[in-house]
């Protein structure tokens, strides 16, 4: 089926090299969404350790005090911030907000929906995520 249809498949969906920053944001949104879902499930499991009393709780939380635990949490911070920032941009776009307005197209046909407002939204989500990750690192790895 896939072969007959010559579908791009997962590879075609993921390939971020061809269609600019908007396609990269699409990929990051999917990855961070899935990452957060994974974290959410792990988080429910983690907090359920309270049922094992103070000792069990402290025991489990010790995992987050290691270097690997810190790196994991820094990634979660980054995913959270990017997903939220870009999510707000996408929700507005999905409602038809900030996607330009119809006009007679002129060569070279730059699409109005791929405009600077959305590009700024994407880049600032990435920058905010990076800043939040650096702050997280400073808190966790700092003395």
């Amino acid at each position: 089926m896939t072969k007959d249809d010559n579908k791009g498949g997962i590879k075609g969906m993921v390939n971020p090299n061809r269609f600019g920053i908007e396609r990269i944001a699409y990929l990051l949104m999917r990855l961070t969404g899935l990452g957060l879902l994974g974290y959410f499930i792990a988080h429910v499991y983690e907090t359920s350790n309270i049922l094992r009393g103070r000792m069990g709780w402290d025991d489990f939380l010790a995992m987050t005090q290691t270097t690997e635990g810190h790196i994991f949490l820094v990634l979660v911070i980054g995913m959270c911030v990017f997903h939220t920032g870009n999510g707000i941009r996408i929700m507005m776009g999905h409602g038809g907000v900030g996607v330009g307005k119809p006009a007679r197209p002129d060569y070279p046909y730059d699409p109005a929906s791929q405009n600077y407002r959305h590009k700024i939204g994407i880049y600032s989500s990435i920058v905010l995520a990076a800043v939040a990750m650096m702050y997280g690192m400073a808190v966790m790895f700092g003395e």
Binding site: N6, K7, R18, F19, Y26, H94, S113, H118
Partner: protein, 255 residues
């Protein structure tokens, strides 16, 4: 002195010519006899203005007539010659080799369309989804009696849909779409943009009918606003814009 051109003159090296050469790699695949596609390579010379389609036709004329390619207008109007050129969906007749900025030009059939042979792909599904959204004016008064006037529109009303009416059904947008590459049932950016083209037309009364058609699980909700459709569209249709406007209606952002 008058310039008289003779046969000899025409064959002499042309000083104005900037002819360079490029390696053209053409994907060859016949689903009836081949297990997988393979590339054939040709060195072709080109001028600043030579299009990828012209280079392919050059190969057909001088090297291998069996290369399958579909084209008609050669001027970005018929929508026949879409293919992957260096990995991106483009019209072969609307893409100059010089603008690709590469010594190698690789042409493959468009993704997300079944291959007929080599570079030619099947458009059945594209036309089917296009028809599905009812690509015509829905208005019970559209049959005019002789003494009635036609539907007048102001330039402003025309501007609401004219860009979407530019669609030549080339399928580049469906080929670039990340949802199309994994979901065989998705209605696709081409059809969705056409749904908006008629919804935005002041003469049309079919808005609710069309919103109903696209409001299904493999309909408009599978669009994630990645925008690749708009980036490859050779006619400035901007399907992503139309799709978000349609969703705006469905979500209640617009009325």
């Amino acid at each position: 002195m008058a310039q008289v051109s003779s046969i000899e003159d025409e064959n002499a090296p042309n000083l104005l010519s900037t002819s360079k050469s490029v390696l053209l790699r053409i994907s060859r695949f016949n689903p009836e006899s081949d297990d997988s596609s393979k590339f054939m390579e040709f060195t072709v010379s080109y001028e600043k203005w030579t299009t990828v389609l012209e280079a392919i036709l050059d190969v057909k004329k001088h090297h291998d007539h069996s290369v399958a390619v579909r084209y008609s207008c050669r001027q970005a109007t018929c929508g026949s010659c879409g293919m992957l050129i260096n990995g991106k969906p483009r019209l072969a007749c609307f893409t100059k080799i010089s603008e690709l900025d590469s010594n190698v030009v690789t042409v493959e059939p468009m993704n997300n369309f079944p291959v007929i042979r080599d570079l030619a792909v099947k458009f059945e599904r594209l036309f089917e989804t296009h028809q599905k959204i009812k690509p015509y004016l829905i208005n019970e008064n559209s049959e005019l009696e002789s003494d009635e006037r036609e539907f007048l529109q102001s330039p402003k009303e025309v501007e609401q849909y004219i860009q979407f009416a530019n669609c030549i059904k080339c399928g580049l947008c469906n080929s670039a779409c990340p949802t199309m590459s994994t979901d065989s049932s998705f209605v696709g950016p081409q059809a969705l943009a056409q749904a908006y083209r008629y919804v935005a037309d002041s003469r049309d009364k079919g808005k609710d009918t069309r919103l109903d058609i696209i409001d299904e699980s493999h309909g408009i909700w599978r669009c994630h606003f990645a925008g690749s459709c708009s980036q490859v569209c050779p006619k400035g249709v901007d399907p992503a814009m139309g799709i978000q406007f349609l969703r705006g209606y469905l979500l209640g952002f617009r009325s």
